[in-house]
């Protein structure tokens, strides 16, 4: 592959959809039809290669694949396909993919219709000036209703659906027709082969075989092996040591030309060098203006992560660095807590994102972590006229010095079958929501609400799913900051405050939350030698309390000469177990209790 494609034969597109509408499965079929993988190499959702993605059946990370397609006009096209995640928490992955290509396949499940993320993603695609091909998927299913979904696309989204392509990603129906539509209906990229090199740094990650891999979209000029390049934003220079593409296997090529997508490696060690959205240009002949890049991701949810074993702080730092390398939306900063030692305050796009990062740290880096309660960013105004952003409830100033606190509100869009509307309205109301709009699309209701983000980060999504038996969908974006009657709630264990469990709550919700948390902790903390009082308090005033009675029996019935060694080993194991405990006064709290307490839902 020493030739680059004439730019008019290139098609760069993203596959976007609501979660589970079948993007990755459709990508499988496109790859297979174009001969990217042989049948024996094929597996379901082949692009979801992370262990967690396969386990959960969701896409977390966007993937790019180059395909070769010979169309009816006899020409062979180069398709660069980007499979994107559907979950709202990974919207930043989607936004970067959209900014790197010219068209989108908008996949809608023929049995589900338009959902909240369908809307969110398609509007982003429109904002990026994309040509959009509506694709109605899963038509193999008996309950598929193509006509109804077409109507929905027209009514709710407002785009023409008369040319929508009905397909089945699973059984391969109409994949040919879709490939042809991509070639004929999507525009080629624009770019200048004779201009100096200008490429967009779309993504980067660490690959155990290739090292740090940089995904690029070439705008003008060429990228070649041996070329000295400059990262304009980071202001660093490197020499390209490999240029390649994914088919989805990685294949080394000589050069990437204008409009093309692919990867480069350049012996990069430091993550600082690879900022997504950066512009890559030629060192000797740099371009004048950098690309506008990407909007930085704005973390919505924060929590602190502390290593259960304090000697693993450095390991945690390195591990976060590695994750950050392939997840540009992860933010972190070192912090120290009196009770939990050194750790990191981390910012995430949402709760699922937070959960995924915690799980990856555990699995890929074998770290035992103590996370604190998820929290949002408050704006705190003190009586001396100062204001600051509050990322950690522990840093909340004393009530006497507080002028006011503002909290973030979001605009939420919820789509739900009619029968669950009542329950969902009640949920939004309980969470201090303000309804802005309620419209119907057939038998589905579309609800728009303003909600305090702090009421959402807890368990809103779980509740929404359980109330609607999984049928309602949800999307949100930051709306505004508003003053609120917010207080810091402390959790005390035998009178000692537990940093990790402190949280900022609305005064009207404090009792409910306090009671819930105390009850939950009572279930989670095992009996100990001493009685334990668990209390929730606001500024010294106790609002909830639970007691755990003292241990009554823990003795080995038989212990003679032959049992000593075995019993002693049990004791040693117990000491090991202590590493997974945190001590508050004379109370030991297992690390698992922190995690579970914070994952509480209303029902339990």
């Amino acid at each position: 592959m020493s030739e680059t494609k004439p730019i008019n034969l290139i098609r760069n597109f993203a596959i976007i959809a609501h979660i589970d509408h079948g993007k990755s499965t459709l990508a499988d079929r496109l790859i297979q039809s174009c001969g990217g993988l042989e049948a024996r190499e094929m597996k379901e959702q082949v692009l979801d290669n992370m262990e967690l993605e396969r386990e959960r059946g969701i896409t977390i990370k966007a993937q790019t694949v180059r395909l070769s397609y010979t169309a009816k006009d006899g020409q062979t096209y180069q398709f660069n396909l980007m499979d994107t995640p559907g979950h709202v928490d990974f919207a930043y992955e989607v936004s970067r993919s959209l900014a790197s290509c010219e068209g989108s396949l908008l996949v809608v499940d023929a049995t589900q219709g338009v959902e909240a993320q369908t809307l969110a993603n398609v509007y982003q695609a429109i904002d990026n000036g994309h040509e959009i091909i509506p694709v109605i998927n899963k038509i193999d299913l008996p309950s598929a209703d193509v006509e109804r979904v077409k109507l929905q696309i027209e009514d709710v989204i407002g785009i023409d659906a008369s040319d929508a392509v009905p397909v089945s990603g699973k059984s391969g129906i109409n994949i040919d027709q879709l490939l042809e539509a991509i070639a004929t209906r999507l525009p080629p990229p624009k770019g200048d082969a004779s201009a100096t090199t200008k490429a967009l740094l779309v993504d980067s990650w660490y690959d155990s075989y290739l090292g740090v891999v940089i995904l690029v979209r070439v705008i003008d000029g060429y990228l070649k092996k041996g070329q000295k390049i400059r990262f304009m934003g980071a202001a660093t220079t490197r020499e390209i040591d490999r240029v390649g593409i994914f088919t989805p296997k990685h294949v080394i090529v000589d050069v990437l030309g204008p409009g093309e997508m692919g990867f480069i490696t350049a012996s990069i060690k430091d993550i600082q060098d690879t900022k997504v959205g950066d512009t890559i240009t030629d060192e000797r002949n740099p371009c004048a203006e950098p690309l506008s890049g990407f909007k930085p991701s704005v973390p919505m949810v924060f929590c602190s992560l502390f290593p259960a074993d304090s000697s693993e702080f450095e390991k945690l730092r390195e591990s976060l660095g590695k994750l950050k390398l392939n997840d540009a939306s992860l933010h972190y900063e070192a912090e120290s807590s009196q009770a939990l030692g050194m750790g990191f305050r981390c910012g995430f796009l949402g709760l699922l994102h937070m959960e995924i990062i915690q799980e990856r740290l555990d699995r890929e880096f074998d770290l035992d972590l103590i996370p604190t309660a998820p929290s949002v960013v408050y704006k705190v105004y003190t009586t001396n006229g100062e204001s600051k952003e509050l990322y950690n409830p522990v840093d909340m100033p004393d009530a006497s010095r507080l002028e006011k606190i503002e909290e973030p509100w979001i605009k939420a869009t919820i789509m739900t079958p009619d029968e669950y509307l009542g329950g969902l309205l009640q949920l939004c109301q309980e969470r201090r929501g303000e309804q802005i709009n309620l419209t119907y699309v057939g038998s589905r209701a579309m609800l728009e609400y303003l909600l305090p983000l702090n009421e959402v980060v807890f368990d809103f999504y779980d509740r929404l799913k359980s109330i609607s038996r999984g049928y309602a969908s949800f999307d949100y974006q930051l709306a505004e900051y508003r003053e609120g009657n917010l207080v810091k709630m402390d959790v005390l264990v035998n009178q000692e405050p537990v940093d990790a469990l402190a949280m900022v709550v609305h005064r009207s919700q404090a009792e409910r939350r306090g009671r819930q948390l105390c009850e939950r902790l009572k279930e989670l903390i095992p009996r100990q030698m001493f009685k334990i009082a668990i209390q929730a308090a606001i500024g010294g005033k106790i609002i909830a309390r639970e007691d755990i009675g003292a241990l009554r029996k823990d003795v080995t019935a038989k212990c003679y000469g032959g049992d000593i060694t075995r019993k002693r080993k049990l004791l040693d194991k117990q000491k090991e177990g202590k590493k997974k405990m945190r001590q508050y006064g004379n109370v030991d709290i297992p690390q698992s209790a922190f995690i579970a307490a914070l994952r509480m839902g209303d029902e339990n």
Binding site: M529, K553, V555, T565
Partner: protein
């Protein structure tokens, strides 16, 4: 003090709760067993010569030994290490008729105390426990022991699934009528690798929870104290010091003991070092190795100070008489446990209270710097 433990690894049937080193055999060659024990004793004697202060035949089912085998072993101990003629020599017996018939011969061979594995006098409970004897046989074995021996003890297992507190109270009071000076009362423990372990995991039965176990233990302590047989150790009860088991007391006081026979453990003080010994568990390998190399020890190594402290504390705090705690234990921790009612100070001694006995694992864990939640939690 130096105890002498002989492990007899054979039983007539395997009980579903038992995790002892037990093997089932059609035929046991008593002579070959005896020869092997004798050779093993010679090996140990060459390395450890302190006179013996108690002897214990444990198992398995040592009442399956022939009285001749027992006698020959006792004679050999006397010949090598020597012992005073009034020391306690105990044999564990199962209450099957054939074995009870041998009591007189065992006495003849030198045994002066038997400890009988009654477990229960209630047939239903015996059936649940998978025992091959019934309540009648248990009664007969106990009364025969009472006639023949000045000292004897029997074991009961309680706090079994479905047993109510009231049932146990009645059963215990009945059993007390047959006791003579000593009883061991064990709450049923589910051990890994036993049949019961699987059954419980499968949900065939449900074990009493912590509170129920604590209630059982409390009423047991009450009844035994009221009957003049208070606890002197977590699960052991005696009418007076004379009836307490000298051999077992020596374990709890962390004295030396020689262990021979398959799977036996020992603790020997040699040149100021405390040595832990462990014999190979498999009877055939044990026999073969001793024939070939004179011993079948899998372990013979010094314990460091920390380990000794752990063991000493673990054992000593099982005793109502308490112990002198090592200097390395933080005084503040001891004070806390006294304040919270787990321990009592008595001059130089620290003694567990009833609550301290019931929470022995947690007490030891706490003193040794572990968590105050036991590993089992």
């Amino acid at each position: 003090m130096t105890g002498f433990y002989i492990h007899w690894p054979f039983c007539a049937a395997k009980c579903p709760y038992c995790d002892f080193n037990v093997h089932l055999r059609e035929n046991i060659d008593q002579q070959q067993m005896l020869d092997t024990y004798i050779k093993e004793m010679e090996y140990v004697f060459a390395r450890y010569k302190t006179p013996v202060s108690s002897v214990f035949f444990g198992g398995g089912t040592p009442s399956l030994m022939s009285p001749q085998t027992v006698g020959a072993i006792i004679d050999k101990i006397q010949a090598l290490w020597g012992f005073k003629n009034d020391i306690e020599i105990t044999l564990e017996a199962n209450p099957n008729s054939s074995e009870a018939q041998k009591f007189a011969d065992f006495k003849q061979a030198g045994i002066n105390r038997v400890s009988i594995g009654v477990q229960s006098f209630n047939n239903e409970r015996l059936k649940f426990l998978g025992r091959i004897h019934d309540g009648d046989a248990a009664l007969k074995a106990v009364s025969s022991a009472a006639e023949i021996f000045d000292k004897f003890s029997f074991d009961l297992i309680y706090a079994t699934p479905k047993q109510s507190l009231d049932e146990w109270k009645t059963e215990l009071k009945q059993a007390l009528q047959f006791a003579k000076g000593h009883m061991s009362l064990y709450q049923l423990t589910i051990e890994k690798g036993t049949k019961f372990y699987l059954s419980e995991a499968r949900g065939d039965f449900v074990m009493p929870d912590e509170d129920t176990g604590a209630d059982f233990y409390e009423v047991t302590q009450e009844i035994m104290s009221a009957s003049g047989m208070p606890a002197y150790e977590v699960s052991n009860y005696a009418a007076n010091e004379d009836h307490q088991s000298a051999h077992n007391l020596n374990y709890w006081r962390y004295g030396d003991y020689i262990g021979i026979g398959p799977g036996a453990h020992g603790r020997l003080t040699v040149n100021g070092n405390k040595i832990a010994t462990r014999v190979h568990r498999a009877p055939d390998i044990w026999q073969q190795r001793i024939a070939e190399q004179g011993h079948a020890y899998e372990q013979w190594e010094s314990l460091n100070d920390e380990t000794q402290t752990h063991e000493k504390l673990m054992m000593g705090l099982r005793l109502v008489e308490g112990m002198k705690l090592p200097e390395t234990i933080a005084r503040t921790k001891i004070d806390t446990l006294c304040d919270e009612g787990f321990l009592l100070k008595d001059g130089e001694l620290v003694k567990p209270t009833r609550k301290g006995l019931a929470c022995h694992n947690a007490v030891v864990g706490y003193l040794l710097g572990g968590s105050n939640i036991h590993a089992a939690a």
